[in-house]
Every structure is written in structure tokens, then in C-alpha cells.
Symmetry: C2
Subunit: 356 residues, 2 copies
Amino acid sequence: MTEAERTQGIDGPAGARRTGERILLAHGSGGRLTHQLVREMFVPPLDNAVLRTLTDAAILPALSPGARPVLTTDAYVIDPPVFPGGDLGYLSICGTVNDLSVAGARPLFLTWALILEEGAEHDLVATCAAGAARAAKESGIAVVAGDTKVVPRGKGDRIYITTAGLGELPPGRELGDAHIRPGDALIVSGPIGDHGATILAERHKLSGPALRSDCAPLAGLLASLLSLGLGVRSMHDPTRGGVLGTCHEVAGRSGCHLALEERALPVRPGVRVVCDLLGLEPLALPCEGRALIWIAPQDAAAALTELRRHPLGEGAAIIGEVFEAPAHGSPVTLRNAYGAVRPLDLLSGMDLPRIC
Amino acid sequence: MTEAERTQGIDGPAGARRTGERILLAHGSGGRLTHQLVREMFVPPLDNAVLRTLTDAAILPALSPGARPVLTTDAYVIDPPVFPGGDLGYLSICGTVNDLSVAGARPLFLTWALILEEGAEHDLVATCAAGAARAAKESGIAVVAGDTKVVPRGKGDRIYITTAGLGELPPGRELGDAHIRPGDALIVSGPIGDHGATILAERHKLSGPALRSDCAPLAGLLASLLSLGLGVRSMHDPTRGGVLGTCHEVAGRSGCHLALEERALPVRPGVRVVCDLLGLEPLALPCEGRALIWIAPQDAAAALTELRRHPLGEGAAIIGEVFEAPAHGSPVTLRNAYGAVRPLDLLSGMDLPRIC
């Protein structure tokens, strides 16, 4: 998003807002100021027929016949809340849309709850509302319920957002790590680590590498893929813990061994630079717009072709293969360009708080 | 809940926890400590088949045929997080269950997202998890998805919880303020202001009045009432803004005038004492276990009888009547014991942050 787009997104709906205004405790009291904030800052950009009713609970249209509801939630406390490629509001919608999408569900409706710190700038809140509205539009979902609380100065950090999402799983669709079997291929939908490297570069004030968070809603990309009826076994979005953390969880749940190919891993040069400077492993950095896809080997090429047709899947690559679980040793390994294989253990020392 | 009950609720499931331990930033990293926290502290008390899978999104059984999904969310930042009659965890489930229940929906599934402050005590987190589990059991719902983030010291206040809830609205059930008409009666399901007075008394360290939050899940009480097929027009839970704030919102949405009877308002003596000491109006204090019910006049007596049969509705009372909107003047009025009528305006000066 360019600065012009961001500004455009805010100024229309939140015209009543004046630059420099700040959040007061009374904005969270449930009284006049709360209503004003909601009506002026949130309802206009996120507008839809259900949200407009502003009742305690959103009554929604029935799900598709035979569809199963899918429910997810995430809290977003990222620091800084505005970063190249997105903001906390945009991310909060993308993350929840992606959790539903990788489960094979069609994202439908989201809730959006804010914890604002007294003194937070209206401009920041409006930027996040505009970001949320943009992500909702891009992913074809509606934000149908919300809540705003304000905590005193020093009891928060400007803005925290918690999103929950409701989607529907079409009848007969069965994805899950239990379906993964030896021989399956592992695809990543694009370059890894962009989001984590971007946030850390911002936080350490590293300039130079032109980095941008990959955060994006994957609903469209993954719906296209699933519509082909290929042998997709399971999908995940490698957020907290990155590709490495996700692979360990999947190895644990599937009981298989995941072997990654170092040469095949798509990592942007700027991400490598940040990782070298800060001593980080790209495989452990969070992504916010990437999917890991386990798929039957005979379908991997077709899936790759389909993914690469979509702007969010241009950099898709096959990065690994599934094997029988080894009797001992790490369940996740990396083979380098010379054929040497090393275990990829969970990095217990690399705790990266507030990146997603 | 007695201290004995509370302790019992924690010690079983969270046996691995040691008294005095505190939350570290690494508990929010998505790595080993996050998993340990979730597996040891949250999954055991909240246990159910869906939550146990610990996947990105909870795949749920299909809703009842013809039912419409209902979605709601609330952020809970209450201070103090443990208070007579409940805790932040218990409240977080009750509040969301109640939002669904007053919409006429059957609460089914909830999500539970935590923002923990570095240094928060494990004991406090476990108390809230036990409280959430107790509320879930009492209201017959399952917590099926969650998230835990940790923010640095001074960027939060021990624990904030955001809950979202999914319920289903049976076919043909139509509640809403648009159905309210002149002549309708207004019932409250029990004494008002207990929750708000309790929290404020705790915060001001007032001792003496034996106060206890009314926080409770209303799913059972309201389902019993609705099962009678009476002319219930609309229901609300008077949380932020209290009965007064809710009445103003309803008056606005229904276009009617709401006339309350001072003599009929059930207010406990302890609540009156706190209000007198702190200069507060009981009508503006939040309740967390009460419903306001607008009902056809001929059905009000039957509703009252049914409500009073339930432990949570013992103190139910008819507190007002609906009239045509006046040409001018306040849309909400109070008639005192001598027949004098005064307008009840929204109290813009009484901002009560962090009570719910």
C-alpha cells in the first residue's frame, strides 16, 4: 500500500477525525464517546448491513447446506503497529482469514475487538481501521461485530487487536496432518521470512534492504488451488515459529519426517541480509501471507502451476518431501547444496516477541 | 465461588504449575514455552474434543438445519481481574454467552484469546482458566480455539481476554428492538448494579457492604423463558452503561419512550451504599448476569413466574413500560414513589473504565 492509498482509505470514512486527536479513557466507557468512535471511525470503512445494526450480536445468513462451521481467533500485539507492507489492522484480518483458508474453509465473517491505550493517536486507530477494511475487501469477508476497550496509559501499547473468524468447510472436504503420508511433496506459496525480517529491521532501525511484509489474505489463492480437486493433504500458514516451527508441529501430528531442500527455499536477498546482521534463521521467521501445502507427489507440479498464476503465489516452490519417521534423530531435516543433511531443531533461544 | 472451589478447579488440571511462577516473554513466542503453557494451563480445564486438536482453526459440527449463525465478540480488561463472585476468565465466557443469549441464540462455541503481561503470575492465569472452564460448563458451551500473546512489562496489565462466540438462532425466532411497541412491559431478571458496585468497592477498598458480582451465564434462564413461546420482543444484557445506557440505546432504535418505575427497581442495600459513598447512579452501573426483557403486556406475569423459578431469575421484576415517543424531552424517564416523573439522561460525566 502506498502512502497515497492509505491516506485515501482513511480520509473519506473518518472525515470527522482531526489530526492530532488522542484516545481518552472515556472512549472506552460505553457512553457517548464510545459510540462516536465506533460510528465515525469503524463503521464507515468496515460498512456492511450486519455491522450497521450495532447490536450485541450479529445475526448472519445461514451457512451453505451441509457445510461445517470453522472458528478461529488470534490476538495481534505487533510492534510497531504500522510497517512496510501493512499495519496491525490489515494484519489482524489477513491472519484470521488465512487460518480459516489453510483449514480449507471459505472465510465468511469476522469479529474485531480493540484494546486501545489512553493517549493513542486517532490517526493510528484510523490507519488500522482502513487497513482492516482493505483486507476485508481483498478477501471477500465482512466484519460483523466488534468491541472497543480503553486501558490507562502504561497499561497497553497504543493498540492491540483480537480477531475471530467464522468460515464454512464444504461438505466432503477433509484436510489435516493425519492425511500426510511418505512421498508427499511440501510446497511453500512464496518467499519466506519477509514479514518477520521487515518487523525486526524496523525495530532495529536497519535501513537499506528494501523489505516489505508479505502479509496478505490467502483466501483467493487457496480457493483456486482447492477448486482443482488435487490431492492436497494439509495446509498451514507459517506465522509464529515460521516454517521451522510449523514443520515441527506437522511432523509431530503426522508422525512423519519432513526433509527440506536448502537450495529450493525461496528467501529474498534482503531477508538474508537482515538475518545475517541479527543472527536469525529465515526458516524461523514468521510469514503472514504464505501457505505451506502438503500434497500428493503426482499433483505437486499442477499445484505449482496454479499457485504461480496468482499474484500471491508467483514465488511458489517445492521445498521438501515427506518420509517415514526416523527411529531416532530430528523429525525435520535440511539437505544443503552438497547433499549433506543436518537436523533442524526448534530454536528455543530465538524468542521473537510481538512480531505477529 | 468459594476459595476451596476455586483452588480445586485449578489444582487438578494445572498441576504442573508451581506457585510463584511468572509469565515470560518467551511464553508468547510460539515456541516450546507457549505450547507448554497451552497444554498445561488451558487445555486441561477447558478440555473438549475440538480444542484438543490444537490446530489453527476449529472445525465444528454443522449447525441445526435452518438455524442462522450468530457471532459476537468482547474484550475484557477489568481491574481487578479477580473479584468477589468471579474473575476475568469467568466473566469473559459469561459476557459472550449472554450476548448470544439475549439475541435469542443458543450459545455453542467460543474462542478465547489472551494478552498476558510479562511477569503476570501463573496463579492468576490459572484462576482465569479455571473460571472460564466453570462458566463454559455452566452454560453448556465449548471453548474450541484460543491464542496467547505476551507483551513486555508495562505494556499490559497482567491479563486481558478477548472472547468471541458462535451461536445459532432457531428458524422463525425474531427478536429485536424494532418489535417493541407501546404498551410492552420491561422486565429485569434480577437486582441491578451488583457487578459494577462490587468492582468499584474493590478498587476503592471499601469494606463492609457484602457485595458480589452478579456475573453469570444466562443461557439456561433465557432458553427456558423463550421455550414458553410468549411475546418476547427484545432482550439485552445491561453491561457497559448499565440499565440506563441500554434503555437509551433501545429507545433510540425502537423509536419509543421507556418509563421506569423507581419503586420497582431491584437494588440491593449494599449497592445503594456504594453508590451513595461514591456518588454513582445504580441504573448506570454494569450488570454481568442480568437481562432486560421487553415483552407483550399480557405475557409479562407469566414471564416473571418462569424467570423466578430459576436461581438466576429469583429477583426478576417488572420495572417499566413502553410508550409512544414524546415529541420532545428525554426518551427515558423515571417515576418516583410520589408520582413525579424526571428525565433520565445519559450521564456523560460518569465514565467508568475497566469495569467490564
